[in-house]
């Protein structure tokens, strides 16, 4: 089985690598000291197992798992013994190892890897999804105005209203972000902050914790960032 190791600590990576050589059934093909580099690698390479540190600066192991489109088996490594419950919220996580990892425990982990068929349910692709309506009618001053869904750039919550920004105009509608989200096709739209939904196809660039869409700089919340990263076709 091919595996990669993701841990910001060199000592931790060295330990897992050494343990892999001892069991002889795991070939370490790459190591990463950060999650972003690993995501890029995984977009181009198929592997069987990831050994993943829970606690990494900026982008945690759990953020990373949420980002994976079609995750292989994941073994979390952690210094915290209270991680177990969180780990099993994700189907792809087959085991968690508390550091420092012993050979005996690692051998048990290998058995779990081999016996597990864990795979996260596939996310439906655009073709598999039901055909979506292309228009949205909004009620403004008792008039129903038709908007092309693809013209919408950003939707922002503003108190009891939402503001819908298109390339040419802005509309203020008395409703909630939650309600309009239900009317929007997932393949086009993504909520990246509790106050913002964006048209995913209109992104110009992403910098740190914000997205640029036309002239709109939209913040990305920490909790929504993994889903955004998962949707990106990263090179």
């Amino acid at each position: 089985m091919n595996c990669i190791i993701i841990d910001d600590e060199a000592t931790a990576r060295a330990i897992v690598k050494q343990l892999c050589t001892k069991v002889e059934e795991l070939d370490v093909i790459e190591e990463f000291d950060n999650a972003i580099s690993a995501i890029k690698f995984l977009n181009q390479n198929s592997i069987d197992v990831i050994f993943l540190d829970v606690h990494m600066p900026g982008f945690s192991g759990v953020d990373f798992v949420q980002t994976l489109k079609d995750p292989p088996k994941v073994v979390m490594t952690t210094s915290d013994t209270d991680f177990a419950i969180a780990a099993y919220e994700y189907e792809c996580i087959v085991d968690y190892l508390v550091k420092p990892i012993t050979l005996e425990r690692f051998q048990k982990c290998l058995l779990k890897i081999k016996n597990s068929s864990a795979k996260r349910p596939q996310i439906p692709t655009a073709n598999q999804e039901n055909a979506q309506e292309e228009d949205l009618y909004i009620n403004i001053d008792r008039r129903l105005i038709k908007l092309k869904l693809n013209d919408i750039l950003v939707i922002e919550a503003k108190g009891d209203y939402i503001e819908i920004k298109t390339e040419k105009e802005e509309h203020r509608v008395h409703t909630t972000l939650k309600k309009i989200k239900e009317k929007l096709p997932e393949k086009l739209f993504l909520q990246i902050h509790r106050s913002y939904i964006i048209n995913f196809t209109k992104i110009i660039d992403i910098e740190d914790n914000s997205v640029l869409i036309a002239k709109n700089v939209v913040p990305i919340s920490r909790s929504n960032r993994p889903e955004l990263m998962r949707r990106l076709n990263l090179l």
Partner: protein, 106 residues
């Protein structure tokens, strides 16, 4: 008396693999001073969240070096830092100094 580091875990992991043992010690020797410097850089400037993060890393080193009581101290200290406190600082700093001396001998 302060707990002393040892290489029992590393020896067990290495077995007869002297190459790994040597490489691993080199990694500890190069990584620890950087983490220690990062720790003091943050704590001296009262950046508690960042200090807690580097303490989290350092506590793994304590475990690797067989310092289980020091690991427990680091767990407590990490929690204190996240609450903006640093009551265990002196004891923690002593552990770092002990490790610093020890890695000069291996």
């Amino acid at each position: 008396m302060i707990e002393q580091p040892n290489l029992s875990y590393i020896d067990e992991l290495a077995g007869d693999d002297e190459g790994f043992r040597g490489q691993f010690i080199d990694v500890v020797k190069s990584e620890f001073p950087l983490e220690k410097d990062e720790y003091f850089g943050h704590i001296d400037n009262s950046r508690f969240k960042e200090t807690a993060e580097i303490v989290h890393k350092l506590k793994h080193k304590f475990n690797i070096l067989g310092m289980h009581d020091s690991y427990k101290l680091a767990v407590t200290y990490e929690m204190e830092l996240l609450e903006g406190k640093y009551e265990s600082k002196t004891k923690f700093d002593n552990v770092l100094a002990t490790i610093e001396e020890y890695i000069k001998t291996i």
